[in-house]
Subunit: 540 residues, 2 copies
């Protein structure tokens, strides 16, 4: 072992050594607000570690947590990893069979679960192969068939508030998260202490998100998926005030929390901010005065949303681009000195892009044949990445691992991108979602973004449908904000794209189905369209 | 090896991948200004690596560099380390016998030397045991007895501008720097690639110095000692415009460079900024408009200087505290959210202190008996530190190593400090400079600071002199800015300190002797005083 290992213990120690008085505010599943300090949290983290020892939980065990963003979940983040165990962030919204699959593959020995998800666990508990006990994240245990079972508060009750933390190797696993599995089964991304340390310190780099002790940080993105983008770790390392919104995830609730707790930086997928923008217009009592910036990911925001947050709300949107395998951060919006010199509108175009690789991260574009793609702002290629905190394998999946790494060790993201002359990355599509029409590529994502840039459009997605002549053709699904015709939208698209890019059909719907992580679920729409219409005919 | 090693190659690659067009401006020893880009530098770094291969320099060799801050020195920083060699930053101002000692101990195979220091090298060349050749950092070779010798430009001439960088282990040595050896012989601090990577990414943390691509960075602190505080690495990782001031290190020259190159952040020891403040008042043509902040270290700045840079120049001073063994950064000024709430004057008092440990760094205070010292703003103890980039041994010195590490692996800095309720560290003295008077400690540094806080005082230092009754007593040396009497200064000190703290003698001098790294050379004064006066008599 090195003289100084990069571990989560360092973050926890820094928070308590220097910022033990800083607050962690948690909205609880039962509707109450819980307030305490990093010092208080530390006491309970020690109790937790002692309790696990007393229960005989192996120091190298992996334990599942199915919970929303609240203070007990925060304690589990550090209590498990710092005592040498690993937290398996389990997404309760996965289909039952996926939950069974990943809990068994990860060999979870114990499941910590919110009362709200007890039903989910009960449904599949008899299929778990390694789970030995259950802990309900509450004061009491509800009526349940799970056993043996104990409440989290009973587990902590009477334990020692000090703990002799073991020396840990930085390469030891601190957590594991499974991909959401939109194609195929979820795959496990195991994060070492070192991965999370390096991700954390880079997160606060002034050219990344610059998260500071002076910030009040509210991760709306769930702690049950990809470490809530790393924010609980970053806030702890910095000693930032932390606000965990619990079940409060709609625009009104988030706005209220921002104003009440003086949140300066918050993070959520794009759809949350679309909702918030509307809400902000409607209500005079919403200030968002403290808000300094908004972290966004998943899909790129439309221009009007960027402008609204920048100019009206005075809290510019900063995009991040990443993925489960990268814990998740790779690329982020920044305004380089070169871009600073451009006109306002050109600058805007740059800020709309996910941006530049964070220090330590390397990205490149590769053609299907593996050749380098020029960074000319036009040529597209698969985005490939390296970073000190990117996984180098999927847990227990040598075959899937081999598929996603190049021979020279770069991770194939499966995303299609463009890199411009300023080095800014733009994600134009998923490799799976690119529409292969007559030997050419049509970007479903670019069509979606252009549709969403229309004032009358709330949300839009474009899918590829098999076509008798052209192999594949695009079909668009649109949620209207105001009345608009198919012809109106097509005319709008023609301003930017050639005629052969236009969707063969444009379907108006009430809302677009989403995956458990808030992305558009194209698979559902594709299945639905195909079962209704089959392939697209030649004469369309 | 890990899938992704933390090396200087990552920094160099980031600069050229994303910011190859950004400028490196270098003031040359011959008085000219040299301008080129990171891309240009990269070509020459490749040439350098190829040249070393062609010369047959071992991939694991250690090579000495004796040079001021210029573009060739920058190339050596990366060309040596990225090709697997190690750069021995050799301080040409060390006494001859120290230079011989460290070049031999480090087993340097080659010496790169500025024309200005050729004399120095010639004087001792016959005592070098491992040096096989010399490279003069210039276009041509001057008249010299060194041999074999070649000019740097001849060395690079005609070499390939591409290089196939080897995979390096992050624990491999990238550089070595010797302590300045104010007490005893210099001791070697060896920095691994990992040490420098972690130092670099932390340097840009928003709660440290937040160095950004948008900054123009000018290290006045020398590249021949402790990596110019790490700034050449940090600027490269960020892609910041870099200004290397070469021989221009006085206030007028630095001010001119700041204005000409729009420098936003610069770093130098306190004495430089004392000079600058005076110069700024005298001259109307000095703007310092672009300057955003000033990094300072070595000794704490007096309050009037802090205020001047903050309020008049609008470029607040940010202190750093560190040492050769820590590469050098450990602690820095920041304004925590708690301190933000204080009154302006209280806030000022906090900002005068070196501040808080950077993320990853841990500090603690220990009494002479090893017991913990409370963080109460009053109790003093030795500052002990841990950090991911702190050395864990002196090169080839097991005995000296053992003396500076505690049994539990903390580095004993030899500095005496106080930590206040806000977690801010204040350095009150060197353990060696504390005055042990009648069983109590008097802080020479606190006396110095208070003397320098007097309007009439330019510089002051306080030394310990043996005393027949009290063991030791303080003697002060003062450089006047305006006329002032010994009684006037003593009255000033009595406002803050008890009577028994007052110096037994107060000597007015023209200037205080400094060490090669710009610190007050107390040893010289102590020897001088003792040879003139012997011990202090009882009746004083």
């Amino acid at each position: 072992m090195k003289a100084y290992e990069l571990t989560l213990q360092v973050m926890l120690k820094r928070a308590t050594d220097l910022f033990g008085h800083k607050e962690i505010v948690s909205e609880e599943p039962d509707g109450t607000t819980h307030r305490y300090t990093y010092d208080d949290a530390y006491d309970r983290i020690c109790r937790l570690a002692n309790a696990l020892d007393d229960l005989g939980v192996d120091p190298g065990a992996r334990l599942s947590v199915m919970a929303i963003n609240h203070h007990r979940h925060f304690e589990l983040y550090f209590g498990l990893a710092c005592s040498g165990r690993s937290i398996h962030m389990t997404n309760h919204m996965l289909p039952d069979e996926h939950i069974v699959e990943i809990v068994n593959e990860a060999e979870d020995e114990l499941i910590f679960v919110d009362p709200a998800f007890v039903d989910t666990v009960e449904n599949v508990a008899d299929q778990f192969e390694t789970v030995e006990q259950y802990v309900i994240l509450d004061d009491d245990v509800p009526e349940t068939s799970l056993e043996p079972v104990i409440s989290y508060e009973d587990l902590l009750e009477g334990r020692d508030t000090e703990y002799d933390w073991p020396m840990l190797d930085e390469d030891r696993e601190a957590g594991i998260c499974y991909t959401s599995g939109t194609t195929g089964l979820p795959k496990g991304a195991s994060y070492s202490h070192r991965d999370l340390y390096l991700h954390t310190v880079t997160h606060s780099h002034v050219d990344v998100f610059g998260i500071s002790e002076n910030d009040t940080v509210m991760p709306v993105v769930p702690m049950y998926h990809v470490n809530a983008w790393g924010l609980p770790y970053t806030a702890t390392m910095c000693g930032s005030k932390l606000v965990l919104p619990g079940p409060k995830t709609d625009a009104e609730e988030i706005a209220t929390l921002i104003d009440r707790e003086n949140v300066t930086v918050t993070a959520a997928v794009t759809t949350v901010w679309l909702e918030m923008a509307e809400f902000y217009d409607e209500r005079d009592d919403v200030e968002l005065e403290s808000l300094e910036r908004v972290l966004i990911g998943g899909t790129s925001p439309p221009e009007w949303l960027m402008e609204k947050f920048d100019k009206e709300i005075d809290a510019p949107i900063q995009q991040g681009y990443g993925m489960t395998e990268a814990a998740p951060h790779l690329v982020n919006t920044m305004t380089t000195s070169e871009v600073q010199e451009l006109s306002e509108s050109e600058r805007y175009q740059q800020q709309m892009k996910p941006g530049l690789p964070a220090p330590g991260v390397q990205i490149r574009l590769r053609a299907p044949n593996g050749e380098a793609v020029p960074h000319d702002g036009e040529s597209t290629g698969e985005i490939q990445a390296r970073s000190p905190w990117l996984i180098d394998e999927y847990y227990a999946r040598p075959d899937e691992t081999q598929q996603v790494f190049t021979d020279d060790g770069w991770f194939k993201t499966g995303d299609v991108g463009v890199i411009d002359e300023y080095g800014y990355l733009e994600v134009v599509d998923r490799l799976d979602d690119v529409i292969k029409s007559g030997g050419e590529w049509i970007s479903s994502l670019e069509l979606e973004n252009e549709l969403m840039a229309h004032d009358a459009v709330e949300e839009a997605t474009v899918i590829n449908i098999e076509h008798e002549k052209w192999d594949e053709r695009p079909v668009a699904y649109v949620v209207q904000r105001e009345d608009v015709t198919e012809d109106g939208l097509k005319a709008h698209l023609l301003e930017r794209f050639p005629k052969w890019w236009l969707p063969d059909q444009l379907v108006f719907i009430e809302s677009i189905p989403k995956t458990t992580t808030g992305k558009f679920d194209k698979k559902v729409l594709r299945d639905q369209f195909t079962s209704e219409h089959g392939r697209l005919p030649i004469d369309e």
